[in-house]
């Protein structure tokens, strides 16, 4: 058995078990962690640094089920050379792994409360492990609302699971797209318009939000309008980062570092920097 690495700077070789295409530019990589002692434990919201050997290393959130430690799941959208290399790899090939890094979603704090999950685009990726965890311990939470916005119906991630979750009687899940043809029977409009339709007790709700920064700013405004206090709004920000351990400064938001203080932040802590262009 290969011992688990402890040096956060040294990538550990890990092999790709399978790859699934999610949409035109996004793929899910399932990595084999069954040989690692204890598998691969992580908390929902955390990320890994994935290294395509000879090309580069990028931060990628963990998108799989935290209770399945024998597999490590990452969902990656191609935007540049490293993400292209990672999603172009074949099953059986090896990549480098460092992690898990970062803070996690406040699932403990949300116990006994209503939960409102607001995801936009690829923002569903780091929220999916939290959804698995909440659904596995469903009775620990009160009302569970999930709202998800995608660009078009073809861009909806994890569509089989979304249909499954939507079929549950103990979850309210709404999906919207920015534009669609007339063969779409769902909602068209921004994700914040779905927040208005969700039923929750604003005094006892924990909101978890992830998506592009502008979408998160609008979502926060809507959550505040609905009466959710800033201390119970959590965001995951994906400011570009490099070292993963708070040294290089690439991911700085004012005096916080996304890599070591985040990526999941309580909104009141991020608010002073969040809509400033200079930080």
């Amino acid at each position: 058995m290969t011992p688990a690495r402890t040096d956060p700077w040294v990538p550990e070789p890990i092999s790709i078990k399978r790859i699934a295409r999610e949409s035109a530019d996004t793929a899910t990589l399932v990595l084999d962690t069954s040989e690692r002692p204890g598998g691969f434990a992580f908390k929902p919201g955390q990320f890994n640094m994935l290294y395509a050997f000879g090309i580069g290393e990028v931060p990628i959130s963990i998108s799989g089920d935290p209770s399945d430690t024998g597999e490590l799941v990452h969902t990656i959208r191609v935007v540049g050379k490293v993400t292209e290399a990672l999603t172009g790899m074949a099953p059986g090939s090896t990549l480098g792994l460092r992690g898990p890094f970062g803070t996690h979603w406040p699932l403990e704090e949300a116990r006994g409360r209503d939960v409102l999950i607001v995801a936009g685009g690829l923002g569903l990726v780091p929220l999916r492990p939290a959804i698995y965890e909440i659904l596995k311990n469903r009775s620990a939470y009160k009302r569970v609302n999930i709202v998800y916005g995608a660009r078009t119906p073809q861009d909806i991630l994890f569509s089989n699971e979304i249909s499954e979750w939507r079929g549950r009687l103990d979850v309210s899940l709404r999906v919207t797209v920015d534009s669609a043809g007339s063969d779409w029977f769902g909602h068209v409009g921004v994700v914040t318009s779905l927040v208005k339709l969700a039923r929750f007790d604003p005094e006892a709700t924990v909101a978890m939000v992830c998506g592009p920064e502008i979408m998160m700013r609008f979502a926060v405004r809507e959550l505040e309008t609905q009466g959710i206090a800033d201390e119970r709004i959590y965001l995951s920000t994906e400011r570009n980062l490099q070292c993963g351990v708070g040294l290089c400064g690439h991911c700085q938001h004012g005096n916080v570092f996304v890599c070591k203080d985040g990526p999941v932040f309580r909104y009141d802590r991020l608010a002073p920097f969040f809509s400033k262009r200079e930080v």
Binding site: G120, S179, S182, L197
Partner: protein, 159 residues
């Protein structure tokens, strides 16, 4: 005197909040109830716009049709939403098709009658205009975000 069913449905919409009894009664007196089957059009692009709608049940899509690319759904609206401001703004023609997505119950308001009442009573006119403006403003905010195409990777986005 307004139809009691119209008054009941109207009282359940966000539009009625804080309207006051007199103004509520005036608005209700201009309305009636209609039901639309899935696929039926509440309004067609280019048609004279003499009514507006408040959705009581169901949902509608705002659509633009292009012969080359087909029909694009730009927005869907549901319970409590107001549909249409063209009755108030020249040239008083609908700018989109409004199609029911499911069995949909709406309050329909006579825009010509409403305009007369609004012109005759500034307090009523302001109350209605303010409500429409709030709705138009929130739609404008949403559309601003929508047009940014935020879910595209940064490089593929519209400026």
């Amino acid at each position: 005197m307004s139809d009691p069913m119209v008054a009941l449905w109207l009282s359940e919409t966000p539009c009625a909040v804080g309207l006051g009894e007199k103004n509520f009664e005036k608005l209700a007196s201009c309305g009636w109830i209609e039901h639309f089957q899935p696929g039926a059009f509440l309004a067609r692009e280019g048609q004279k716009a003499s009514t507006f709608f408040l959705i009581h049940g169901g949902s509608v899509a705002l659509e633009l049709h292009d012969a080359a690319t087909g029909t694009a759904m730009t927005e869907t609206l549901g319970v409590g939403d107001a549909v249409g401001v063209s009755w108030l703004v020249p040239p008083h023609r609908y700018h989109v098709d409004v199609r029911a997505l499911e069995p949909t119950d709406v309050l329909v308001f006579d825009g010509d009658r409403l305009k007369e009442l609004m012109e005759a009573d500034a307090d009523f006119g302001f109350a209605i205009t303010r409500r429409l403006l709030a709705r138009v403003y929130s739609r404008l905010e949403e559309l601003r975000v929508q047009r940014l195409d935020l879910y595209q990777p940064a490089e593929g986005r519209r400026p």
